[in-house]
């Protein structure tokens, strides 16, 4: 229990600081001073002391339950990942539920912006094709879906990023799609205000933001663990900083794509990645 709490705290704090770092990097590239690095964390904590209001159009109790669900699934991801090093399939299932939460959070609020985000979340489910393909490619290569065994495989045979680099690239695109301001972040495009989060205020918004920070940490953790191997906490931090910096550079220099273009670009990446990875596995 203490181990779970410890990992959840680390995930939340590191995820929040990394989001803040991303905003800082984006700002510096765009010749702005940018917010302090802990801005995202302060922003999240601020919502816990704000008044919580509920729109008349909200579908109760679903509107509230969805925020609890988002928090619970990412705590579950921490238990499956850093704490027990369980199955990658469970991480995939958690990610799939994250998509469901995205579109249900949008639709349950009754706001037109939330509903548009909900439609986009369903639409962007096509972006999950790469994740599923990545899992299959990892299974073909390592012969297991268990994270602990994948770490052992890499200890014996070298990091998977060298043998299946295109699968790693596909997973990176998926990570990119979850970053705020990314070219693929269509569910939270500024044309629809804050997307599915628009009508969640106060405490509920705080929990949503907290879960997103944890989700960001977990996605980076899975990438580093599955493609590089089991690392010490310091190297995890270095890897996460490096990935967040790269994502910050990409986000600062690219606009948010039109939803059609976003999906087509991700599917194109997936197609190249799947075919390329299969070719690499065969030869």
């Amino acid at each position: 229990m203490a181990n779970i709490l410890l990992n959840v705290l680390i995930a939340f704090l590191v995820g929040s600081v990394l989001f803040g770092l991303q905003r800082k990097i984006m700002a510096r590239i765009q010749m702005r001073p940018g917010p302090p690095i802990i801005q995202h964390l302060l922003h999240t904590l601020k919502f816990f002391i704000k008044e919580s209001t509920f729109p008349k159009t909200a579908a109760m109790p679903f509107y509230i339950a969805i925020t609890a669900m988002l928090s619970v699934i990412w705590v579950a991801a921490i238990i499956v990942g850093p704490v027990t090093q369980g199955s990658l399939l469970l991480i995939f299932a958690i990610y799939a539920i994250h998509k469901i939460v995205e579109h249900n959070a949008g639709s349950s609020s009754g706001s037109p912006y939330g509903k548009l985000s909900c439609v986009r979340a369903v639409f962007s489910a096509a972006a999950e094709v790469p994740l599923f393909a990545v899992l299959i490619i990892i299974y073909f290569k390592a012969g297991t879906m268990n994270i602990a065994q994948i770490i052992s495989y890499q200890a014996a045979n070298g990091p998977l990023i060298y043998s299946i680099p295109l699968a790693a690239a596909m997973f990176f695109v998926l990570i990119l799609s979850k970053a705020p301001y990314s070219p693929f972040a269509i569910t939270k495009g500024k044309d629809i205000i804050s997307g599915y989060e628009t009508e969640h205020f106060g405490l509920l918004r705080g929990y949503l933001m907290m879960s997103e920070s944890t989700a960001w940490y977990m996605l980076l953790w899975v990438f580093l663990t599955v493609f590089i191997g089991g690392l010490s906490p310091l190297w995890y931090l270095v890897g996460m900083l490096a990935l967040s910096t790269i994502v910050g550079f990409i986000n600062a220099t690219t606009p948010i794509l039109n939803p059609n273009h976003s999906i087509m670009t991700q599917v194109s990446f997936a197609l190249i990645g799947i075919v390329g990875s299969l070719v690499l596995l065969l030869y």
Partner: protein, 107 residues
């Protein structure tokens, strides 16, 4: 235990940044400091980076405590309001880096 220490470092970074942010907003009213060096921030940055990179030199305190204090001090400068603390941080990294190089490579 290992993860507990890293949580300590992260908390130290967050609290240091928060304190640095609050104090720098009280101290400075203008949005930028171009070409100016804050001596207090410079001392904090140099001491902080020194403690983090060269904690092994301080033998009478456990390393994790030295690093926690170092992170707290350097994050106070790193977390100052936007437009402040950058030059001091760079100088801190350079000074601590030179000492680290002298300690590990030259000696």
């Amino acid at each position: 235990m290992n993860e507990t220490i890293y949580l300590l470092y992260i908390l130290s970074f967050v609290l240091g940044s928060l304190l640095g942010l609050v104090l720098s907003y009280r101290k400075y009213k203008a949005p930028y400091a171009i070409g100016k060096i804050d001596i207090m921030a410079l001392v904090l940055a140099v001491v902080g980076w020194f403690l983090v990179l060269n904690s092994i030199l301080i033998t009478f305190i456990p390393t994790y405590i030295t690093i926690t204090i170092g992170i707290f001090l350097l994050s106070m400068v790193l977390g100052m309001r936007p437009g402040y603390g950058r030059n001091e941080t760079f100088i801190g990294i350079i000074v601590a880096g030179i000492i680290w190089i002298i300690r590990t490579v030259i000696l």
